[in-house]
């Protein structure tokens, strides 16, 4: 049989499968709806990272020196602290204790930390006498921030009193390792985008698994291979159907969240690899040919571990070694690299290669096991 004839058969099976999905009105309504939900949730998430600590300060005549007391190239008090000046200690205490927003100089501020310096502080420091500084904190402020503010006040007053640091600061006393992302941190939207894309892909593997399981159960797979279509044609068609379903939906989600602004071809390639891989998972899970519930259970066995690299990408730090060997790690890192860090082909080549190898292994395993299953029907 010629290649064009084989292609026509595969195409016919794919069209039949897709038509079957399209005839399901509920599926046709709910699938786009699901994509809209995913995109909606992504858009609702903050697209900025607030990396400063907002502090209300009452320090008559001291506010400037307070903020400048601890500053350097890497630890910028300007970036880390947002100082809101208050006119009186009472107003500051009320703002922290009662919560909510207060209007200062026409701008609304909400502070959950307030530092109240005594009016006589400068005179006390000059006379070498001790004074008391009060810090008001909302109990929801993390312990480390409370500790840091406590230390900050002491260090600031050391500086005001002209006491030297107990250590020497090198020329650049605090060295930034890696690209400095202060002011350009990865936002929750960016962090969640790869997870959403991967979840769409993995969920679609269940759709393919269900389709395959039904064909095995009802033995229509046997009927198809009794026609001019070979087992290879059937498997190619199932793989293609799964890939199309997963790729179009994940691609649409990334398009709607505006993820294709940088290196769109690289992103599409990563998605394609991920889609073929999930089609492989679908073939593996569906080959059991059991009822829908069992198929879902088998699918979950693949989906849960395969989603771990995407969950791990939500959090800082390099993934554990066992996460890095999961087949989905490579294409998830490519999506993270492109969408969140603006990486290009050179940066992603290793991950792409890694995910391609994983994809080939998974798809081949799915093909082999499903082939055996169809042949033994």
């Amino acid at each position: 049989m010629t290649i064009s004839r084989r292609a026509a058969i595969v195409r016919a099976i794919v069209v039949k499968d897709l038509r079957e999905f399209s005839r399901d009105r509920l599926w046709m309504v709910l699938t786009p709806l699901m994509l809209v939900f995913y995109v909606g949730i992504l858009w609702l998430l903050p697209n900025t990272v607030d990396e400063s600590i907002k502090v209300g300060v009452y320090a008559r005549g001291l506010t400037g020196s307070f903020a400048e007391a601890f500053d350097s190239d890497a630890v910028s008090a300007d970036a880390a602290l947002e100082v809101v000046p208050f006119e009186s200690p009472e107003a500051l205490e009320t703002a922290v204790v009662e919560g909510g927003e207060v209007e200062i100089d026409g701008q609304k501020h909400a502070v959950d930390i307030g530092i109240s310096f005594p009016d006589e502080l400068a005179a006390s420091l000059a006379a070498g006498e001790s004074a008391t500084v009060t810090i008001y904190v909302d109990a929801s402020v993390p312990a480390e921030v409370q500790t840091a503010m406590d230390a900050f006040v002491r260090e600031a007053t050391y500086a005001m009193a002209g006491v030297d640091l107990p250590v020497t600061q090198p020329e650049q006393e605090l060295i930034v390792v890696g690209e400095d992302r202060v002011g350009a941190q990865i936002t929750p939207q960016d962090r969640l985008t790869p997870l959403i894309a991967v979840m769409v892909l993995l969920v679609e593997s269940m759709a393919l698994a269900g389709l395959v399981a039904v064909e095995i159960q009802s033995r229509t797979a046997k009927a198809v291979v009794a026609s001019p279509a070979s087992v290879g044609d059937l498997l190619s068609a199932k793989g293609l159907t799964g890939t199309i379903l997963a790729f179009t939906q994940a691609g649409l989600v990334l398009l709607l969240v505006g993820a294709f602004g940088h290196e769109p071809l690289l992103l599409l390639l990563a998605l394609l690899i991920g889609s073929v891989m999930t089609a492989g998972f679908g073939m593996l899970a569906g080959s059991a040919g059991r009822d829908f519930m069992t198929t879902i259970f088998i699918s979950m066995v693949f989906i849960i571990p395969m989603a771990v690299p995407a969950i791990s990408a939500l959090f800082p730090g390099a993934a554990s070694a066992w996460v890095q060997v999961l087949p989905t790690y490579g294409f998830i890192e490519t999506i993270v690299g492109v969408t969140a860090y603006g990486e290009g082909w050179a940066d992603s080549a290793g991950y792409l290669l890694m995910s391609t190898v994983g994809c080939v292994i998974i798809f081949a395993a799915g093909w082999f096991i499903l082939r055996r299953r169809v042949e033994t029907l």
């Binding site: 480390e144 006040v153 250590v167 930034v176 400095d180 519930m293 800082p316």
Partner: protein, 355 residues
């Protein structure tokens, strides 16, 4: 509705239920979910500033830093290893304390402070770690600070991550037992043809759905309590807890009936679940990330059942604190009833027509 027939259907489900994998899943999940979420992911979600220390001479600074609440410190063997961890964003900052550092500080020699920060660390974390480190050095120096600092704390403290994960686990338990069990049971009855057999008997669609709802409700109620018990989150107000869990189980059992009644087969049910479950699950994400705008969670119906459970179980709220939220949840439950009736009639017509 005929209660006797509904009871017969329920008895049949209870007898055959243990054969269903979904029932096994509903029972096993609270244990497995609690282990996975609390043990494996609990630490992953912890957003504390992380400081790595290379302590070459047994410095007191390392001891002081390890004792600071809210800062995760770890000892690293070599400076190269420390730099790599900071660069990979496994640590926010690194501190190298050479041998003789403390002695040099005490002697007033002002030794060099080797402190570096990761490019991806937040500005606030850099400040916290740097200023706390300096404070630890001041402690070693034995200096008398020029001011006394008094901290006045108000309001409620931030809940630990283990508590903020509780709504996720509770909703999982409610969803699997309350939605999945009745929905899949209904669909399997349709696919196996047993629904047709039931409906040609004196049983009506509403009797069958009532039996499925009771099974989902009881299972969801019990498994939610088991989940809360496993997470040591039963609160101090048993009446309020039981009522809020009961209303939660009721709402999800109704949703389960809607899913099961609306889906003509497993594939359609799957499509329903994959799209609607994101709506059901959305509110719990906001407990995990309290910095996100919390009002968004209130858009979703399940917020009105999960938040009362959370407040009673974790924050020891009483019935008076949650009565308004439970009222909203009950209104949603009431609104769902006519929808369930419509779905039940439609399902009956479809099954009878197909027969």
């Amino acid at each position: 509705m005929n209660l006797r027939i509904a009871w017969q259907v329920l008895k049949k489900d209870l007898r055959l239920g243990p054969r269903s994998p979904i029932l096994l899943w509903a029972i096993v999940f609270p244990v497995v979910g609690t282990f996975v979420v609390q043990i494996v992911f609990g630490s992953l979600f912890a957003p504390q500033p992380r400081l790595g220390i290379v302590d070459e001479g047994g410095s007191q600074v390392a001891v002081e830093m390890a004792a600071v609440e809210g800062i995760e410190t770890s000892l690293v063997e070599t400076e190269d290893g420390l730099v790599r961890l900071v660069e990979d964003n496994d640590l926010d900052a690194g501190l190298v304390l050479p041998a003789g550092f403390d002695e040099a500080v005490l002697a007033g020699e002002q030794p060099e402070l080797q402190f570096f920060v990761g490019g991806e660390s937040l500005a606030s974390n850099r400040l916290i770690l740097a200023v706390t480190t300096l404070d630890a050095v001041r402690t070693v120096e034995g200096a008398t600070p020029p001011v006394d600092v008094v901290i006045v704390s108000t309001g409620d403290p931030l809940l630990p991550m283990s508590s903020r994960m509780t709504p996720l686990l509770v909703l999982f338990a409610l969803l699997i037992a309350g939605v999945f069990v009745p929905a899949f049971s209904i669909v399997q009855e349709r696919e196996n043809g047993t629904m047709t057999a039931l409906l040609v008997s004196p049983a009506r669609g509403v009797d069958v759905l009532a039996a499925k709802a009771v099974m989902g409700l009881v299972l969801a109620f019990l498994m939610t309590l088991v989940t809360l018990w496993l997470n040591d989150a039963l609160g101090t107000q048993p009446a309020a807890l039981l009522l809020s869990v009961l209303i939660g189980a009721l709402m999800l059992a109704e949703i389960g009936l809607l899913f099961g009644g609306a889906a003509k087969d497993s594939k359609t049910l799957f499509a329903l679940m994959k799209s609607v479950n994101i709506l059901l699950f959305a509110p719990v994400i906001f407990y995990i990330f309290p910095d996100w705008p919390q009002w968004i969670a209130q858009i979703f119906p399940t917020y009105w059942i999960i938040n009362p459970i959370f407040e009673v179980a974790v924050q020891d709220a009483g019935l008076g604190d949650i009565v308004g939220q439970l009222a909203v949840a009950l209104v949603i439950c009431v609104v769902l009833v006519p929808m369930v009736v419509v779905v039940s009639r439609r399902m009956t017509q479809q099954v009878v027509a197909a027969a």
